[in-house]
Every structure is written in structure tokens, then in C-alpha cells.
């Protein structure tokens, strides 16, 4: 836990989530403090994406309680809006708007939901594009950028909404190896600024470097929740041991 952190930013209690009769999350309990950085890992289909998508209402849970930055997600439009106001998300496939310029990608949401006027949105967008080191690409279309640059735009776009919490769903999995570093560096610098983050990733070096806690999921359950040093040295569950062996042997 980061020093001095007291405020809870995410609280999940006995959360269950089904897709029809398939249970994707089972009795998930999770508390995250402001400024904490969590890395979520686990085998494919273990519910990592589902977990973080429940945190901004992209998926609805069926039982249990989820609250984010003090707002409880009750499935009504208002609480979902309120939560999304505080949560930024970065997707594996970037999901930039291909017909809008990089700059417009960044200003659309802040202007649209009345957070700022056009000038303020422009200034903010340029600030964050500088932050992710691509201000010179502002007038290009996403398709003209490399994958790494697109993902950095996606990060800037999310930051323009001034989120309190950032969610990343395998942000580097769709990237060519030579572009992974630039995206991870961006995330590290975000971490250094104290942003609360939950990041689904299998980049274990990144996890060692920035994570306060590593969460290991299997079959919809949180099986381990430990600091990286402990997780890598002595995973408690056989499932996590196997998972680590498989990943490290690559």
C-alpha cells in the first residue's frame, strides 16, 4: 500500500457475475486504496477482463456490492455515469475513433459531457498528448500512427477526463514487441505520478516494477493477492505456480 493512503477507491464485496449460466466471477472480494497499483494476471478465461469491466459498468454484476470512489454501482444509469466519470479505461485494441483526429479523439468526451469548453478541452488534450510524447501527431488520424502511438493516444484520451482510477486491459498484448516498451514507459510515468491503476497484463517485469499488489485469478476467483516480491518468490497456490512456470519458460 502506498504511504499515507487511507481512502478506499474500489470496494468489491461478494461479487458474482454470470453470463447466462456460466459464472465468470465467483464471490470476488477486493479492496483497493487510493494511489494503489494492482496488476491482475491469470490464465485465459479466468475473468480478468470481466473483473475490471464490472468496475466501470461495461458489464453488470448480478450479486454483491461494488463501489468506486464512493459511488455504489446499482445498475441504474445515474450511478454508472457517476462511476465512469471517475474511471478511465484503456483497451487491448485501443478502440480509438478512426474517423477522428488524435486531437478530436481526446476532446470529444470532455466537450460532450460538459466537463469543459472547447478551448479548455484543447489545452487539456495537448497537455496529455505531450505527456505521452506525441503532441506532433495531434492532427493525424489514428490509422496513420503505429500501434504503440495509438495506445499512447488512448491513454491520453482517458486521462483527458481526469479520472481518479485507470483500468488497463492487456494494453500491450496487441502490440509488436518493439512498441511494448514505449507504452509501458508511459504507464510507469503515470504510476510515478501516483495514479491509482488496475492493470491486466502478463508483463511481469512491469508488474515487479510498479505494482503494489498482484492479483492472480483462476476460474472467476481471486486466488492470490500479494505484493509482487512474495507472489513471484512463493506463490501459495499450485495453480499460480504452474502459471508462473509457463509464463517464465517463454
Amino acid at each position: 500500500m502506498p504511504k499515507g493512503a487511507k481512502n478506499i477507491i474500489v470496494k468489491m464485496e461478494k461479487v458474482n457475475k454470470w453470463f447466462d449460466d456460466f459464472q465468470a466471477l465467483c464471490d470476488v472480494d477486493l479492496t483497493i486504496f487510493e494511489g494503489e497499483r494492482i496488476v491482475v494476471c491469470g490464465p485465459s478465461g479466468s475473468g480478468k477482463s470481466t473483473l475490471i469491466r464490472c468496475l466501470n459498468g461495461l458489464e453488470a454484476h448480478q450479486s454483491g456490492d461494488i463501489s468506486v470512489h464512493g459511488t455504489e454501482l446499482r445498475g441504474d444509469a445515474q450511478s454508472v455515469r457517476q462511476v465512469r466519470d471517475n474511471v478511465g479505461m484503456v483497451f487491448q485494441q485501443f478502440n480509438l475513433f478512426p474517423h477522428l483526429t488524435v486531437l478530436e479523439n481526446c476532446t470529444l468526451a470532455p466537450i460532450n459531457n460538459g466537463k469543459m469548453d472547447a478551448q479548455a478541452a484543447y489545452d487539456k488534450a495537448m497537455t496529455y498528448l505531450k505527456r505521452v510524447q506525441i503532441p506532433e501527431q495531434a492532427d493525424k488520424l489514428p490509422g496513420q500512427l503505429s500501434g504503440g502511438q495509438q495506445q499512447r493516444v488512448a491513454i491520453a484520451r482517458a486521462l483527458c477526463m481526469e479520472p481518479k482510477l485507470m483500468l488497463f486491459d492487456e494494453p500491450t498484448s496487441a502490440l509488436d514487441p518493439e512498441m511494448i516498451k514505449e507504452v509501458l514507459d508511459t504507464m510507469v510515468s503515470l504510476a510515478e505520478d501516483g495514479m491509482s491503476m488496475i492493470c491486466v497484463t502478463h508483463e511481469l517485469n512491469f508488474a515487479k516494477r510498479v505494482a503494489h499488489r498482484i492479483i492472480f485469478m483462476d476460474k472467476g476467483r481471486i486466488v492470490e493477492d500479494q505484493p509482487p516480491a512474495d507472489f513471484f518468490k512463493k506463490p501459495k497456490s499450485p495453480r499460480a505456480k504452474l502459471f508462473l512456470e509457463q509464463i517464465l519458460s517463454h
Binding site: N56, G57, L58, R81, R84, D85, V87, G88, M89, F91, Q93, N95, L96, F97, P98, H99, L100, L108, A109, N112, N113, R157, A158, M161
Partner: protein, 228 residues
């Protein structure tokens, strides 16, 4: 105008041609009305089809399903002859043909446009939701600009179907190219035999439809090139 045709083509072909060209006007009017009216209703049905509400979705699906599975000819009979007969009222052929074609067009376009919207990557919706972009702006600024590129070619292609479809309206007495042509073909006038008139009409339909078909193909080729 009539004299002009007679001067060039003589009698009776000048007269026939003039009447056929004049009748084309109605074919084009009816097609345009069907397209505009059908398009307006189709927009509404499409919105309902993709709305978050299950009820609206069901109503829209039912609408599309019903009017897509009734043949156009059947619709024309029903509205031009069936309903008036049942209620003992007079419906003029213009009104009946318009209603039938608008219903037919709206169902078809709604289906095409729903497909176009669903071709837009799911991630575009999710990114917009995550950014809290309002639903109306999400549609206008994110989804529609991308869906148009999938929908435009089939939409224009369908206009060709509508134009050809209007020819069926002769059956309820709508005075378009088809009806006028048929009348001439049946008339005991030398030089207006069916083997003269019908090819002539085919050529006229071709002249109306061909540019559209070409246009549709061009757009399609362009959108494929863009997506490649």
C-alpha cells in the same frame, strides 16, 4: 414538347415515346417518395432496433420481419384493393402505391442500416461508454460516421430495386411507365406491338437504373479499397 417528339419520330412512335417519357416522371416521383418516406421511417425503426430497451427492439424487429416477408405485389393488392374493399372506401392509386412502397422500403432500409451499424466494431461503443459520451452524441459522432461507409452502397443499390418495384404499381391502376406502356402494347395501333413497346420500356428502365447501379458499384469499390 409532344410536337417535338412527333417531329423527330413521326406518328405513332413520337406520341408513344412522348407518353412513355412523360410516364417515367411518375415512376421517378413514386420512387423518390418511397425512398424519402421509407428512409425516414427506416431511420426511426433502426433507432428502435438498436435502442437499449428490449420492447422497442422487439417492435422494430417485428416491423422489419412483417414487411420484409410480404411480397411487394401482395402489399400493393392489400392496400390498393384489399383494404379499400373491406372498408368500402376509395383509395386512389397514388396513395395506395405510395403507402405500399414506403412500407416495403422502410423495412428493407431499416434492415440494411441495422447491419451497417452492427458492422461498426463493438469496441467503439465500449470506448464511448467508458468515456461517458451521451447516447445521442455516441450515435451521431462515433457510430453513424463509421456506419455510413458500410450502408451507402447497399442503400443506393436498393434504390434500383425500388424503381423497378414501382412498375408493379400498374396493377392497382397507378399510371406509370408500366401502365402506359402496357396500354400501348394492347392498342390496335400499327407500330405499337408488344415486341416494340416492351423493349422500349426496358431501355427506359435501364436508363433510369443504370447510373444508380454504377454509382453504387463505385461506392462499394471505394469502401472496400478503404477497408483493405
Amino acid at each position: 414538347m409532344g410536337e417535338f417528339f412527333i417531329e423527330i419520330f413521326g406518328k405513332p412512335h413520337g406520341i408513344i415515346l412522348f407518353q412513355l417519357v412523360a410516364a417515367c416522371r411518375f415512376t421517378i416521383y413514386l420512387s423518390l417518395i418511397a425512398f424519402l418516406g421509407g428512409g425516414a421511417i427506416a431511420s426511426l425503426i433502426t433507432l428502435m432496433r438498436i435502442a437499449p430497451s428490449r420492447h422497442l427492439q422487439r417492435i422494430a424487429t417485428a416491423y422489419i420481419w412483417i414487411f420484409q416477408s410480404i411480397p411487394l405485389l401482395m402489399l400493393l393488392f392489400l392496400i390498393g384493393l384489399g383494404v379499400p374493399g373491406l372498408l368500402d372506401i376509395n383509395v386512389n392509386p397514388w396513395t395506395a402505391a405510395t403507402i405500399a412502397l414506403v412500407l416495403f422500403t422502410s423495412a428493407y432500409l431499416a434492415e440494411v442500416w441495422r447491419g451497417a451499424i452492427e458492422s461498426v466494431a463493438r469496441g467503439q461503443w465500449e470506448a464511448s461508454f467508458a468515456l461517458n459520451i451521451r447516447y445521442s452524441s455516441l450515435l451521431r459522432k462515433v457510430i453513424l460516421p463509421q456506419a455510413i461507409k458500410f450502408g451507402i452502397a447497399p442503400t443506393i443499390g436498393f434504390m434500383v430495386q425500388i424503381i423497378k418495384g414501382t412498375s408493379l404499381a400498374y396493377i392497382i391502376g397507378f399510371s406509370d411507365l408500366m401502365l402506359v406502356g402496357k396500354r400501348w402494347a394492347n392498342a390496335p395501333v400499327l407500330g405499337s406491338e408488344p415486341f416494340v413497346i416492351f423493349p422500349l420500356m426496358a431501355v427506359m428502365y435501364f436508363c433510369i437504373c443504370y447510373p444508380l447501379a454504377i454509382f453504387a458499384r463505385k461506392l462499394e469499390a471505394r469502401s472496400i479499397a478503404k477497408n483493405a
